[in-house]
Every structure is written in C-alpha cells, then in structure tokens.
C-alpha cells in the first residue's frame, strides 16, 4: 500500500464528528422573506440596482459588482423588494442588505431548470470567464474570493494544474462530502469548464481518506474524462487550506506572500465547480448553496440546499429547533467558524455550515501561563511561531509582528487548538494582522 500524501509542515487531528455525512441533500422550503447582504465576497461591496417596491424574479441581478475584485448578487427568490436597510448579519454588525418578501417561485426565463445533464461545453475561454463573473460565482470554500478573478491568470504567469478542493478538513461539516456524492457528474463537468477557462490540461481533485465512498464514486466518474484525477489524501487539518492542499496534492510550496499561481496552480472548491457548471451550462446564477446543519445536541442533523438570504433560524427550525442547552451557534466549522450574535441572520454565499455547541463544548479553556512547549510552532502549517507573534501583538510591537510573517497566517486555529495552556493565540495573531494590515495600507498610501 502506498503512503498517502499530505502537507509537510504542521497540522493537527481534531475529532471528526461528521454526524451528518449520511444525510442526503434536501432542498429547504422557500422562506417567506430573504435578507440578502450586498457585500458577500472579498473585495469591494456590490452596488444595489433594485429599489424598494421593485418586483424581482429568481435569478434577477439585484446588486452589481463594479470593482475588479467584487461580485454580482442575484435574487434568490421571486417577490417584491420590501426595503434596502442595514440589518444584522453574520459579522455581528449591521450591514446594508436587500430584503425581499417572497411571492411564488417565478424564475428568470433564461435559466434552464431541467435536471438533464448537459455535457457539451460550447462556450469559449472568454465566454466562460464572462459567464462566471456575470453569474456572481465566488469561492464557496469559505473565503468567497470572486472566481472570475482566479481564472484571469496575470501576464507572465502560466497555470499548469487545477487543484479541486474536496478536502473538507473542518470537523462536523459534510456539505462538500454530500455534494461530491450526489452531484458528481455536474461537478466533473464544472471542473472541465474551469480547465477550459484556465487553459490547463490537468486537474487533481484532492479528497481526504476519511471519505472512501467519495473517492470510489469519483474514481468511477472521472474515467471518461481525460486529465482529471482523484487524489486520496491522509487526514490532517488544515489540508483544505489553499497552500496546504497544493503542497499535499502536487508537492509544490507557494512562497510567502505569493498566490498559488506562482507555482502554476489554481485552487477551486468542489462547490464552486458545481456552481460553475450551473452558471455556464444552465445559465443559473449563484442563488443557493449546500449548508450543513449539525451539532451534538441537535435532534437531527442534515445537509440542505438553501437559498441565499434565508434566515439561519429556519435552518435550525428544520432540524427540530435550538435545544435549551445550546451555548453557542457557529457559522462555518468549529476551527475557523465564527460564533453568531443572533440566529436571525441570513445565510450568505460563504456559509458552509451552521453548528451548535452545548454548554460544556463551548467553554473556553482557562488561560494559564505559556509553558514554552512549542507545540504551537510544531503544528503551524505555515511554519510560523504563533506564540512569538501573539506575544508581540499583545505588547503592541507591530513591526515585529510583521517581521515574523504574521500576514502569512491562514487563521486555521491549530495553535489555539493545541495549546495546553489555553492561550488565545489566534485571537492575538488576528489583532496583530489587523494592525499590520493598517500599517501596510498607510505605507502604500505614502
């Protein structure tokens, strides 16, 4: 038996807790009202193009991304725009949103709603990129980086291989797992479209070895498609990190502060590949996504196809309501997710899961003094010294924070997870990164 590949520096092994892995994807009923934030991707916020009282259809453009790194947003329902207002979103702050009252389910006539598999890729490279931009596709792994930007390879660089991220290394989450099982054909065609858009001949789908059903299923599917291969990876967190996955799958290391294209790789999530298929072949904008709802204390768990803008409350109702002993509701996975202020916030393009913690689980470990064990340094997948950066940040020595390459930190949380002294390392590093970001911006202004 050959040795499975994985990334070489650091890594941790949190308990997997994939309770919902066996739950097929179910479509969630249409909500009565959706709240769609107009900033749902990295980069500049989009600009609303509808006004109060407008009638909208499913798939109609409601906010336009005007900057280069920015994305279009489409209505996920049909109905009437109630208002444009500032509403509490997942960040815990009030942000501009478009609120739509749902009325029926009338789709834009250009969208192909048939379930028939459309295999032939007729669009040219330019058309593919344009379509992806038009349909508001963003990276669905969580960072929500606009996908069309990834496909535009800068001059002087050449993409050689497309890496598809099917790792889903976060514990609890199973959205990608189910998608790869149930929508494999669509996804593989999506991968081909991305390959055509990038002009590459080779694509590797990285899947962790804890999903043997997916690996087998995909291996059967990709037989007919030349250039696509499935790569089983040894389970290790944070393998889903872009740079870690490139290291694991093709053995190349992205230099500090550089993008993956530097080593000829482009990484896209499986969810993104599926969305690309729908956008290019079916003309369907990104208006829904798979969300895992899970938690130890929930009556049932599940994976749902949810329209963007649906309230988290409705998802929780669907699995039997929030139990009494819930102490924390997290959006995303347990390692990198964000605790929510309120459950009355909308699902957005970057929401991969909703996770509940009961009282015992949610408690932070009591912080004691650092015992200099260097565990955080051992597990850091970027080869940083988290304890040092955290101490510099705590003492406001931001030049040193920058010198220690804090900006390379991918915020995976391995350091805080592993720290036997319960130090909030990542919190301090984030603070340091924020301050260093400010310093860098000021410097470039001068």
């Amino acid at each position: 038996m050959s040795v499975l590949k994985t990334f070489k520096i650091g890594g941790v092994h949190p308990p997997e807790c994939k309770y919902s892995a066996g739950e097929a994807i179910k479509a969630l009923e249409l909500p009565k009202q959706v709240t769609i934030p107009i900033a749902q991707s990295l980069g500049a916020p989009s600009k609303a193009v509808v006004a109060k009282g407008d009638e909208v259809k499913v798939g109609q453009l409601i906010a336009k991304g005007e900057a280069f790194i920015s994305s279009n947003i489409h209505s996920s329902v049909s109905g009437k725009v109630l208002k444009l207002d500032e509403v509490l979103d997942q960040s815990g702050y009030r942000r501009p949103c478009i609120i739509i009252n749902v009325d029926g389910d009338e789709w834009d006539e250009n969208i192909d709603r048939s379930t028939e598999l459309k295999k032939d890729i007729t669009a040219t490279k330019e058309e593919i990129i344009k379509k992806i931009q038009e349909m508001g596709i963003v990276g669905l792994g969580g960072a929500t980086f606009p996908s069309h930007v990834k496909l535009m390879v800068p001059d002087g660089k050449k993409a050689e291989v497309l890496v598809i991220n099917g790792v889903e290394c976060e514990p609890y989450l199973t959205a990608d797992h189910r998608l790869m099982l149930e929508m494999a054909d669509e996804m593989v065609i999506g991968i081909q479209i991305l390959m055509k858009g990038l002009d590459v001949k080779r694509a590797i789908v990285g899947v962790e070895n804890n999903k043997p059903d997916v690996i087998e299923h995909l291996n059967n599917r990709v037989k007919d498609y030349p250039g696509i291969e499935v790569c089983a990876l040894k389970v290790q967190y944070p393998q889903g990190g872009e740079k870690q996955l490139i290291d694991a799958a093709i053995g190349r290391q992205v230099p500090s502060g550089k993008l993956p294209i530097e080593v000829g790789a482009v990484v896209n999530n499986v969810g993104t590949a599926f969305a690309v298929y729908e956008a290019v072949q079916k003309n369907k904008p990104l208006i829904d996504r798979v969300v895992t709802v899970t938690g130890k204390n929930l009556k049932e768990t599940g994976n749902f196809m949810v329209r963007i803008g649906t309230s988290v409350n409705e998802l929780i109702e669907k699995v039997g309501g929030l139990p009494e002993d819930t102490a924390k509701v997290v959006s995303g996975g347990p390692m990198m997710g964000k605790a929510l202020n309120s459950t009355d916030v909308p699902v957005v393009k970057g929401t991969s899961g909703i996770l509940t913690f009961e009282e015992g689980e949610a408690k932070r470990v009591e912080t004691t003094n650092c015992i200099r064990c260097a565990k955080c340094i051992t597990v850091c997948p970027m080869g940083l010294e988290p304890v040092l950066i955290a101490q510099y940040a705590g003492n406001e020595l931001y030049e040193n924070v920058e010198a220690e390459r804090a900006m390379d930190c991918i915020e995976c949380g391995s350091c805080s997870y592993t720290c036997p002294a319960g130090q909030p390392l990542l919190d301090y590093i984030r603070l340091g990164k924020y301050k260093v970001g400010e310093i860098i911006r000021n410097r470039s202004k001068k």
Binding site: R94, A339, N341, S342, P424, Y428
Partner: protein, 311 residues
C-alpha cells in the same frame, strides 16, 4: 613579593593615565553640543512622560519647545496637558516667550449603555480586551457603537484617573484626569473624547455616539441618541450639530444653558456638576457621578472615517 604589587600598581596607573588622555581628546572631538535650555525646560515639565503633548516623553517635548522657540520665536500649538497653563508659562519664561492660554480639558465617556440601560444579549467569553471584542462583533448589548466594558481605557491610563464601575460596567473618569489622550487612542470605538473642563467643572454633552436610526438604536439601549433633533432646535447658541442621526454639542459654543438636557426624550444629554434645578421640572439627570465627565462630543464627522474602514 612587594615588588610585584608595586609594579602592578605603577603599570596600571600608567595605562589608566594614557587612556584618560586618549579619552579626553575623543570626548572633545565627539562632543555633543546641546542647548542648555533643553535641560532647564525639561526640569520645569511634570516628568510624567505620558505623551499627551504628542512628543515622545518630556525630553522630546522640551527639545521641540526649544527648537520652535529658536526657529519661529513662538510656542503656538504646544501644550502640556498634564502641567496645564502654569507649566507652559514657566517653560515659556525660560525661553523668553509667552505661551498661549489653553482651556484645561478632561476625558469624557460618551456612552451610557450600562447593564441596566443596554441589557446583555449575548455572552462574550473571548480575551477580555475591547480591541478583540470590537473586532468580533457588535458587543454584548448589540449596540455597535457602545462601550464594550473590557477596560482598555483603564489599562492605558498612566494616571490612575479612570476606573470601571462594577455596577454599570462603564468606565468613570476621575477628577485627576490630565487629558493626555491615552484612553482616547486605546478605545477601539472612539467613545472617549477630550472636552473642555468648563466653568466650575460644569459640562454638558451627548452621552452617546450611536449613528443608527432611532429605532435600531433604541432597541439596544434605552438612553441612546435617536437623532430626533429636538436639542438642535432648542439650542439658542447653534452649539448643536446633527450628523448621521446623532447630536453633537460643540463645547466651544455651548453656554451651558441646559435647555437641551430638558428637551432630550431619551436623556442622552448629560449635565455635570450643576446645582439642582429649582423649577417644577424634576432634574432630568442627577449629577450623581463623582465628577468625571466634561461636555459634549466632537468627533462625529472626524471619527466616522476610521470606523467605516474597520468594518
């Protein structure tokens, strides 16, 4: 035996003498010529090294003063908030100039979102500093502008002039505040403002910086400024400006007539150190708190920008 000691003493003395001669010439060659006035001026400063003047410590301030005196023959724009006008007069005397008089200032907490006024909706269990709490969410009360109560301002204060009130969860500025501005910088939400102390320590200010519309603001906090403009209309001195659903009282223009205090429907405008009112109208605000707060708030426009950036 004795010889060894004698030789050692003599040879070491010679080496020492030779080194002294060399060192003397080196010291002459590399002598730093410094204006003796810098030392004199530094002597007259409070030696708090708080940075409130905007320079790195009292020595840095003394150097800047002397430099300005030599080059521009004026001390305009310089101020030692700790020493106040007396210190500045002494320093100016040494330099043969006259310092401009400046109204003494004090830090003001522009938030009244106590546990009672703005009840907690969530529990924050992260590291207990405001900087973290601010970066994570709008805070336990839900008000995205209000005090987070983790005490970054208390940590920043070198003068022990600010403390957290256990009951309200809000910081309180004591009388010995020197307005060095350390807490103003430390507060991630720009709640603290330096305002003129006012006559007899009497101050009026809007104790809120919430820029949300009335509805959402009131939902999180009973005493939020709802931007109703009533104070703006009643002010006879044009001291109040309305910006982004928020009233701001200009402490330069305010004549302390207290009309706005009565008018405010949410009691967001505070008056401090005034005698109790005689008329039938019961005093809207009790000047209960020890003394800490000065008058209105200024940064409405100025501070918006950094905030927008952060979010």
């Amino acid at each position: 035996m004795n010889d060894v000691i004698i030789y050692a003493v003599i040879s070491l003395s010679l080496v020492g003498a030779a080194a002294a001669v060399v060192l003397y010439f080196i010291a002459q060659k590399f002598k730093v010529i410094e204006d003796p006035k810098i030392d004199e001026v530094e002597e007259s400063l409070p030696a708090a090294n708080c940075g409130g003047c905007g320079f790195p410590g009292c020595r840095g301030f003394a150097e800047a003063l002397v430099k300005s005196a030599n080059e521009k023959q004026s001390l305009d724009g310089f101020n030692c908030p700790v020493g106040g006008n007396d210190t500045m007069a002494t320093a100016a005397g040494i330099l043969g100039l006259v310092a401009e008089e400046k109204e003494p200032q004090i830090a003001v907490i522009r938030c009244s979102g106590s546990c009672e006024n703005a009840p907690k909706k969530i529990n924050y269990d992260g590291p207990a500093t405001c900087a973290f709490a601010h970066s994570l969410s709008s805070g336990e009360s839900g008000c995205p502008y209000g005090c987070l109560g983790c005490g970054d301002c208390v940590t920043a204060c070198d003068f022990d002039a600010i403390y957290m009130d256990e009951e309200t969860g809000l910081p309180i500025v004591k009388d010995n505040c020197v307005a060095c501005g350390a807490c103003v910088t430390a507060c991630p939400r720009d709640i603290i403002e330096l305002r003129n102390k006012g006559k007899k320590d009497r101050r009026i200010f809007v104790s809120c910086i919430n820029q949300e519309k009335g509805g959402p603001a009131k939902k999180n906090c009973k005493v939020a400024c709802i931007g109703c403009s009533k104070c703006f209309k009643v002010c006879p001195f044009d001291a109040i400006t309305m910006n982004n659903n928020l009233a701001y009282i200009d402490y330069e223009k305010c004549k302390l007539c207290r009309k706005c205090v009565v008018e405010c429907p949410t009691k967001a405008i505070h008056e401090l150190n005034f005698p109790p009112r005689k008329e039938k109208k019961a005093p809207a605000d009790k000047p209960a708190k020890p003394a800490p707060k000065p008058v209105a708030e200024k940064p409405a426009e100025k501070k918006e920008e950094p905030k927008a950036e952060k979010e």
